[in-house]
């Protein structure tokens, strides 16, 4: 296989894509075969829950592997250095939009939030623009998007993408306008300026393929257990929780408080995008409103307590509070508007 990748990277990618699609098509029929082999009554709670589990687990894992591989390759084009060079000195407005878009394709891990934030600030990326990046990077996550697309169709995925970007752009813009540079920790403001100029590094296609593999090993390796747990919970809800159970808590019949409460519950929670999608799926299937569920999902992914703790090293408490407040408000607005409109 190594020889194939070296000699014909495009050929390798083509064959891999065909194999992937072929495998994907067999998953649903195979899940029925598996569950029919068990001594369960067709249509019973246990039957439904297990069929969901047998179908969703390999499906989600296969999707994840495919998407993470693709993103790993795209990420190799958009290193933080290159993104920084693209954003340094940009006007607000345009800068916020670019930062939010770049947040999608630049590799980002919460542990790097601080060095990245500082690196941006040192090179002259405006504070608001940096925040737009910091909001979009974890939230508008290729994993979340692909899974939303696969499970709910392109409209919902597109909505998540559009709304997520809007929150990132507008929140970042607002924070920029508030002129809170004074609320950066003092040692950050005293750091030397850095040039953002970046000589492109040229990688070959086969090197990018290896970068993709490394990404799959790292991310799927980290996330698969969460996915399994999320699907098991989703399967339980799917099979055992009565239809419309969520309607009273998160559905059309719930009071206006269901949106803010969902967002507040989501803030201290943190799971990666993959783990939460099956829960979202089960909630929606049981009558929760789309706006409330999306708001919940966004707040779980975008605002994470561990990341806030890490950011405390560079941001004074007031700036963190503003950050959380603006983003949470944006997410709640999304939830409300959605519920009203859809």
């Amino acid at each position: 296989m190594k020889k194939l990748i070296q000699s014909s990277p495009r050929g390798f990618l083509l064959i891999a894509a065909m194999l992937w699609f072929g495998l994907y098509k067999t998953l649903e029929p195979f899940s029925h075969v598996l569950v029919d082999a068990l001594p369960l009554e067709t249509g019973s709670h246990a039957y439904n829950a297990l069929q969901f589990f047998f179908y969703d687990t390999p499906k989600v894992l296969l999707l994840l592997a495919g998407v993470v591989m693709l993103m790993g390759m795209i990420n190799s084009y958009f290193t933080p250095e290159r993104t920084r060079a693209l954003l340094a000195g940009r006007r607000e407005g345009v800068g916020n939009i670019m930062a939010a878009l770049l947040g999608i394709v630049t590799p980002f891990c919460s542990c790097s939030a601080v060095p990245l934030f500082i690196g941006f600030v040192q090179a002259g990326v405006p504070l608001g623009v940096t925040f737009s990046f910091l909001i979009s990077a974890p939230m508008v996550n290729e994993i979340a998007l692909t899974l939303l697309f696969a499970l709910f169709g392109w409209k919902i995925a597109a909505l998540y993408l559009g709304l997520g970007l809007s929150i990132a752009i507008i929140s970042g813009y607002i924070i920029g306008r508030l002129k809170m540079e004074a609320h950066l920790e003092d040692w950050v403001r005293n750091m030397p300026k850095v040039s953002a100029v970046h000589e492109g590094d040229t990688l070959t296609l086969s090197e990018r393929i290896y970068a993709g593999f490394a990404s799959v090993r790292e991310i799927v390796g980290k996330v698969w257990l969460y996915v399994l747990a999320g699907i098991a919970i989703g399967a339980g809800i799917h099979g055992y929780v009565p239809q419309d159970f969520m309607a009273s808590l998160m559905g059309k019949d719930a009071g206006w408080w269901s949106v803010p409460v969902s967002v507040l519950i989501g803030v201290p929670m943190y799971t990666n995008a993959a783990g939460i999608i099956p829960i979202v799926e089960a909630l929606l299937a049981k009558g929760a409103s789309l706006g409330t569920v999306l708001a919940f999902m966004m707040s779980v992914i975008a605002l994470s307590l561990p990341e806030m703790v890490i950011l405390r090293k560079v941001l004074k408490l007031r700036l963190i509070a503003v950050f959380v407040g603006v983003v949470a408000t944006g997410i709640m607005l999304v939830g409300f508007i959605f519920n009203a409109v859809v």
Binding site: P80, P107, F108, C111, S112, M191, A214, S215
Partner: protein, 76 residues
């Protein structure tokens, strides 16, 4: 003797990188002075924007993600 610093604040990838370099140095018999830098300001001082980062004899040779074995081999 080469001086290798692994820059990271303690996430899983940083620990993996350190372990990998240690193992490979032992396997190849290379003599290295290996340090782990966890202090945020020191890490930023190297201009690294994503951890784990690796500094070889004072020069940053890697940033972001666990380095491949081939890459580590090139440093030893």
């Amino acid at each position: 003797m080469k001086n290798i610093k692994v820059l990271g604040t303690g996430c899983a990838n940083c620990k993996t990188t350190l372990k990998l370099i240690e193992e490979m140095a032992k396997a190849t018999g290379a003599e290295i002075q290996l340090e782990k830098i966890e202090d945020m300001q020191a890490i930023i001082g190297y201009g690294v924007m994503s951890t784990p980062g690796v500094v070889l004899d004072g020069k940053v040779v890697h940033a972001g993600g666990v380095p491949s074995r081939d890459k580590i081999f090139g440093w030893l």
